[in-house]
Symmetry: C2
Amino acid sequence: MKQVSERQLERFPIYLKYLLSMRDSGYKTISSPVIANALSFSEEQVRKDLQVVSSNNGKPKLGRDINELIEDIKAFLHYDNLTKAAVVGVGHLGKALMNYKGFNDFGLDIVCGFDIDSNLVGSQVNGKDIYSVYQLSNKIDELGLEIAILAVPLSAAQDNADRLVNAGIKGIWNFVPVHLNVGDDVVIENINMASSFAILQHKLSNKEKN
Amino acid sequence: MKQVSERQLERFPIYLKYLLSMRDSGYKTISSPVIANALSFSEEQVRKDLQVVSSNNGKPKLGRDINELIEDIKAFLHYDNLTKAAVVGVGHLGKALMNYKGFNDFGLDIVCGFDIDSNLVGSQVNGKDIYSVYQLSNKIDELGLEIAILAVPLSAAQDNADRLVNAGIKGIWNFVPVHLNVGDDVVIENINMASSFAILQHKLSNKEKN
């Protein structure tokens, strides 16, 4: 498989959503220029991206088979194997994540939650059990958890990251706007709302100046 | 002010969080190498980034004044002026966003919510009123709303984006994993959870192969 950049990787879920909607609308084939136009990407970019996941470039004029392309992207993104995850920190954000219905579509299965609050431990959110963070090591093995979704308060983020790493977690999806220090054998991917908002704000103020 | 890239912009909220924590721990000055080391950025990158927001490079050995640097970054990120926003779509995610306490820290003030569900309209979340989406135009003017935070179901995303643009909104912070088509005079910034998760997943499976 070809080398793929993070920028490229980010686009595949967007292609997939679009292709699924086109298939639902009855289309059987689709060309790179049509995709590029619909998603505001360049044709060159779309062609390069799709070559990463599929060796079948389709037929001139007709384009690619939509079903085949959907299956290729799903396989590339590992959507066929659900990744088992736990939400750590079941506050407002953690609860929303446990209730979110879209995760299964992209290969993520939230199995349970963890919290330090004894009032929450033993309860359920969206039919999923909430355990104590002190049960992490046991539950990771017992339930086969692969990644943790971190949604604790800022001040508790590093301590909980340490706790997760010690318990054997190899991947953390971090929703707390803070830089976490972990060893090289652990993968962290940040959803940084403050950074995303900074970009929106900056673009808006540039517009106002023009 | 110097040109700034999105990649640079994303780092400033991370610098700010770190500097605030160092100030809380009693530090008065700080050097670029110390910041670079703590955040796992390169020294060169930190130096370049900080030159964007501040012309005072500090003193050799002592480094920069932490308070001054914090104020410079806050001013650069417009954190002094709260941006008024509304959440559109008050489901699980929308409620979590309305309850999130961290937004004020980065210059965002969620004023109210909008939903199409008549059972929600007239109620409150975190003390903030929920209005009908049909009241958008009036409320945007009345409340001085600058941006909309889109958290509706996937199938309703484009319709609601159109509705927001027609009502005069110039900035949309999009939490729905879909590409929105809007005119060039509207700024959209996406929080794309599917893309972020794809990156985490890809890094993890690369680790396993090694």
